[in-house]
């Protein structure tokens, strides 16, 4: 999903690549970039078409074959109720992206607005926003989620909201830094002298320059969102059991790890490949878009 987005936005961002096709080729030019792109595309395809692609129903019980390793019928084996692990993991991709993607987009939207306000207005507004972002960032994301979800319950929307709040500071900071750098450039100053209003300056100069680092950060925060979301479900605070969330599958498997390591093993593999893929994609995007940021984690 984020790969598509990047491909659309980049030409406008004024990066070296001028066509969508050559941009994708540029990303795939490095092995880790190609891996990242492959993972991202595969995950989005599986998430979109999971109900059509699954070999079994993800709720179908086969108690006789519970906790089995890989077999010709169940390619990855079965869980403690004899449900097909492959089908559940595929549906899990859908659950993960349904939470992670809106959370990251919401985080970008709010972070961009706050960062623009702080960087452009400066003064007290800037100080206030920076202190609030600092305060949010003084909770590790998981801990913030813990405090809020314990009171709020754990509907999908609540989880999205909490994750978005946790991501706002990283987006806000990157935006603020870019705005400050661009605002005082001579040519921007000159245009302001010619009577350009803040909206024109932001639209013409700030946004195109802020977009590349934000795109990179989105690719980096998406795997973080998936990791936290599954982790919360694993702790019993996120998505709840009948839903085939990766964290739920992990928690089911973990309770019976001595009987069968397969559920834990496959889920860990899927989580590792997903987070690695998106992070490599982000790293590659950073190189291709020529972004210099130091922020990696939220």
């Amino acid at each position: 999903m984020s790969a598509d987005l990047a491909a659309q936005r980049v030409p406008r961002a004024g990066a070296a690549a001028s066509k969508g096709g050559s941009f994708v080729r540029q990303i795939a030019a490095s092995p880790s970039g190609a891996f990242g792109l492959l993972v991202a595309v595969a995950l989005v395809v599986v998430a979109l078409f999971a109900p059509l692609l699954v070999p079994h129903s993800y709720t179908a019980l086969d108690i006789e074959h519970r906790l089995e390793g890989p077999t010709p019928t169940y390619w990855l084996g079965t869980d403690n109720l004899g449900r097909d692990l492959l089908s559940r993991l595929m549906m899990g991709a859908r659950v993960a992206l349904q939470i992670a993607a809106p959370a990251v987009f919401l985080g970008v939207a709010v972070g961009l607005a706050l960062g623009l306000a702080a960087g452009y207005l400066g003064g007290r507004v800037d100080t206030l926003i920076v202190v609030v972002l600092d305060a949010i960032q003084s909770f590790p994301a998981v801990v913030l989620a813990l405090a809020v979800l314990a009171l709020l319950g754990s509907s999908t929307w609540d989880i999205v909201l909490v994750l978005a709040v946790a991501f706002v500071p990283s987006f806000g900071r990157v935006t603020r830094t870019s705005v400050q750098a661009i605002r005082s450039l001579p040519y921007v100053d000159a245009e302001r002298g010619l009577g350009a209003g803040p909206l024109r300056i932001i639209g013409r100069h700030v946004l195109p320059n802020v977009a590349p680092p934000l795109i990179v950060l989105m690719a980096m925060n998406l795997p973080a969102a998936v990791g936290i979301e599954s982790g919360l479900a694993f702790l019993g605070l996120g998505v709840q059991p009948p839903t085939p969330d990766w964290g739920v599958i992990l928690s089911d498997g973990f309770g019976r790890i001595r009987e069968s390591p397969w559920p834990v093993l496959w889920t860990c593999a899927v989580l590792a490949v997903t987070t690695l893929g998106f992070t490599f994609l982000g790293e590659r995007l950073r190189d291709v878009l020529d972004v210099r940021t130091t922020e990696v984690r939220s």
């Binding site: 590790p140 994301a141 982790g231 790890i257 834990v264 590792a272 690695l276």
Partner: protein, 316 residues
Amino acid sequence: MLPYLSRRIGMAVLVLLIVLVFLALLVQILPGDPVSLMLGPRADPELIEVARRQMDLDSSVPAQVWHFLTGAVRGDLGQDFLTKRPVSELIAAALPNTLILALTSLALAVAAAIPLAVVSAARQGSWLDRIVGTMSVGIISIPSYVIGMVLLLLATVWLGWLPAIGTGSLADPLDYLAHLVLPALSLAMIWAGYLARLLRSALLEVLGQDYIRAARAYGLAEWRIYYQLALRNAIPSVVSLIGVALGDLMGSAIFIEVIFTRNGLGTLLYNATTQRDYPTIRGGVLLIATLFVLANLLADLANRAINPRLREVAAR
């Protein structure tokens, strides 16, 4: 230095104040009611009344904030709802285990990062350099619980190695250490590669400078150039990150403690959330946030103290 010091500390205090007010108001902001969550919807009204009084929910909202603030300053975080023990006591019992875990894994990560960074800086473009480069961004993005579980599987289920579950007791240091190995290793792996890569780029910057060339011309041994000259000037750029790392480790420790059923702040918080024991959740979260703010403050100050260039910039 002094104006910077007071401003930086003032900022940290302000952030902590906001955190405190936020946690005090959380019960009001969010629609959930902690009492009915804990006691269930059909609880005895009298019991609910008692619980509300215990959690200070019968006071006015500003009074609640004030009580929580002044209480926290005095070290009084209220009462655990189930055990009726003071939250501060529960935290004090859990904190040492978590601190030991976080600090041990940080030390392990740094100990691994230094040689990795030196070797990959010395042999730029070698296979080791490339592996460190790729894995450093990779491993840090993998959730900590995934790494913990894979290590747990490897060690106990397949190798039958180490008593992986539980905490051990500090009275028996060897036993405690044996229980510490796997959790600390899981957390250390996450940061080792990342620290190594940052240290590598700092090293490369230092190695390009004249005094290193001069040292080479004098015929100083290569290992002394790296470990004694270059490293000393490369490490400051990594110090400020250690504060971030420590905070991140405290968050990841929740999962690691739950997976290895280790006593600590993480398990305390986890158990409190499954029981919806709000006073303990609030206290635990406050403590983690405080530690995080403190770690960042100390890292920034340490960075200033050992990096004269930053001081000059501030003085100007």
